[in-house]
């Protein structure tokens, strides 16, 4: 079945259509990264866009100023994001931030980044960064057609899904779930809370940053609100939860369901008096929460012919 996705670019020559898929995979990718920290470890970050943005900015700045190919720059971005995650995670976990407090501190943290980025002209300020156009330049992570982007992000998605799977069935995954369900009990059992939470944070941050580079190379333009802002952070969380927080495929599925719906409703309603398409979206979110508390995966796992492995609810 997975082969089907590999074939899609050959079934259509619609750029728009491929764009939709690229974006679905992209958001699915980010949601899956988030899920490592938010779903497995149960630490709900509402500031994950920071990591995405660090990746995007690092690779883009390096490319724009030194000509370093984003293929290399992205690892540096990932490393940087991992360090930031380490720092910020250490602080938060050291002082015992949990649940809503952790959530709030991640928002504050991200907003600080946004304001700083807006005001530091050296990294573009509010004008953001326009990634230098290189045309069709595979070595510089730029392509004219959509197909290369499609396959790259599909591979990246596959990678983080696989990583999620590995984590989940590893001892670390086991510990993370224990931490998520009951931190005190986990600690009593001798599980090193800090170490595992930090690992989850760093891994999540690192891969989120790689996604940021992808975005920068795809859209060719980044600015603080779009790549560091609360809007993106919330969007990521929405996909993960609607899809099924804590599951392996859930987050990607959330993107698969919600993104096209948002696109289609915008296409149908945008022309009329504004706001209808977002009303539909908001309503959909509300309905999802009420009728699908475990997300899509939670709902699907109730059907007999398939069962999700691993926890489908918090």
């Amino acid at each position: 079945m997975a082969f089907f996705f590999l074939l899609i670019p050959w079934l259509t020559d619609s750029r728009y259509f491929l764009h939709i898929f690229v974006m679905i995979f992209f958001f699915g990718y980010l949601a899956t990264c988030w899920n490592i920290l938010g779903g497995f470890a149960g630490q709900h970050s509402f500031g994950h866009a920071v990591f995405v943005g660090i990746g995007a900015y690092t690779s883009s700045l390096l490319f724009a100023h030194t000509g370093l190919s984003p293929w290399f720059g992205m690892w540096i971005g990932g490393l940087l994001a991992g360090l930031v995650g380490l720092f910020f995670g250490f602080l938060s976990f050291r002082y015992g931030l949990k649940g809503p407090y952790f959530l709030l501190v991640t928002i504050a943290f991200a907003e600080v980044f946004v304001y700083i980025a807006l005001n530091v002209r050296a990294i573009g300020g509010s004008s953001g960064i326009t990634i230098p156009l290189a045309g069709d330049a595979p070595f510089f992570f730029q392509f004219n057609g959509k197909m290369p982007y499609y396959y790259i992000i599909l591979m990246m998605l596959g990678l983080v899904v696989w990583i999620s799977y590995i984590i989940q069935r590893s001892r670390m995954g086991y510990y993370l779930i224990a931490i998520r369900e009951n931190e005190d009990a986990a600690q009593a059992l001798g599980i090193n809370l800090m170490r595992h939470k930090l690992w989850a944070t760093v891994i999540s941050a690192f891969f989120s940053a790689l996604g940021g580079t992808f975005y920068a190379q795809y859209i060719l333009f980044i600015d603080p609100p779009s790549i560091l802002g609360l809007g993106l952070s919330i969007e990521i969380v929405i996909y993960a939860i609607v899809g099924g927080i804590g599951t392996i495929l859930g987050p990607a599925f959330g993107a698969f369901l919600l993104f096209p719906i948002a696109e289609v409703t915008r296409g149908v309603f945008a022309g009329q008096t504004g706001g209808i398409h977002l009303m539909v979206y908001g309503l959909l979110l509300v309905l999802c929460v009420i009728f699908m508390p475990g997300g899509i995966m939670g709902r699907l796992s109730q059907w007999k012919f398939l069962r999700e492995d691993g926890p489908s609810k918090r």
Binding site: T12, Y16, Y115, N144, F253, H277, L300, F305, L306, D309
Partner: protein, 416 residues
Amino acid sequence: MIREFNLKKFRGIWFLAFVLSISLIFWNSISVAQPKTVKIGGLLTLTGSLAKAGEEIKHGIEMAAEDVNKAGGIKALGGAKIEVVFGDSQAKPDIGAGEAERLVEREKVLAIMDQYPSVVTLAASAVTERLKTPFLAPISYADKNAERGFKYYFQQNAKTGSKGTGAAWYEFEYMEYLAKVAGKKFEKVAIIYEDTDYGQAGANGLRNFCGEKGYKVVEDISYPSRTPDVTPIISKLKAAKPDVVLMVSYLGDSILIMKTADRLGFHVPWIDNTGKAHSSYIKALGEIAEYDNVLNMWNKDLDKRAKELNDRFKTKYGEDMTGHGALEYQAIWVLKAAFESAKKADREALRVALTKVEIKPGPDMFMPFRFIKFGSNGVNTGGGFILTQVQSGDFVTVWPEKYAVGKVKIDPKWWK
């Protein structure tokens, strides 16, 4: 002991994904082809904090399309009518880019016109450049847009910081004119601006011009545009005692700023870029708005045609047409002229026609421009701005003298 990851168990999920993908493919191949119409895409911000502007611009475009169609459509294409299909960028560059793709591919528009913010213009025009579709930016005048060497990008206004043609230039020139009229020498200037691209680019231009002519910039304040309290800005201005304040702001912050200035008893001439150019500004501030100087691209009192245009607009939509609406209105006529010369409903022909089109004051020119002709970088250097002053609760065009309908009034409270 650890759970098994068995692909077979996920049959259902793959099935779902398959169904979704197939339906997307089929949905995608349904396209509507309308004979005898020429489709143009309008990429606006129809939701979010800029929704108001988007709505007005939508009306401007709709009325323009109606007017063109009523006047016989595009004669070179057998009277083909202009049909505008709208997209909502939600003021976000990635959504703007996606909408551009959708408009070009699904809706098969022959060209896209947009609105702002400039980040959306940047992202969306990058898409249209790759898709070889003409992109006309009727409003955007931020610096970066035209510096990319694009062939399909056309901009109706000059960069804000361009000497002689940009918005910042007009704002600055008016300041010198005002000084002359008031018979007062301006030495100290304050520049305040909101912190997005619009504000920063405008402020850069103003700063440059002030520096060149030797004005002392006593306060240079960038502020976050969504802020609930602007008192610190006014406090600083009060302390610095400038002769005039040059601002680059949006409507919401302008309202708060002017209210606060009145509250704190700070009275000097304010010259704003285009943020206040809206009837709801006057409605919100009432008396306080009197004597305010606001840059605009167009005003309903410019000439008989402008008045007639506005009357019709007002009857239809219940409020005055804005300068931005007028720019978009004009842009439709630019496209019409281009189609007439292209003689083909084809993107490449349209692009070539746009590089050659030249509109001078006449039946196709509604703006106070010298001309519309896109240079080699796609920028029209014949654009221009006017300055309106709020007098007796309405915007009156007072400058340049060529277009002035009324005289600049000096507020007796200034500099006291």
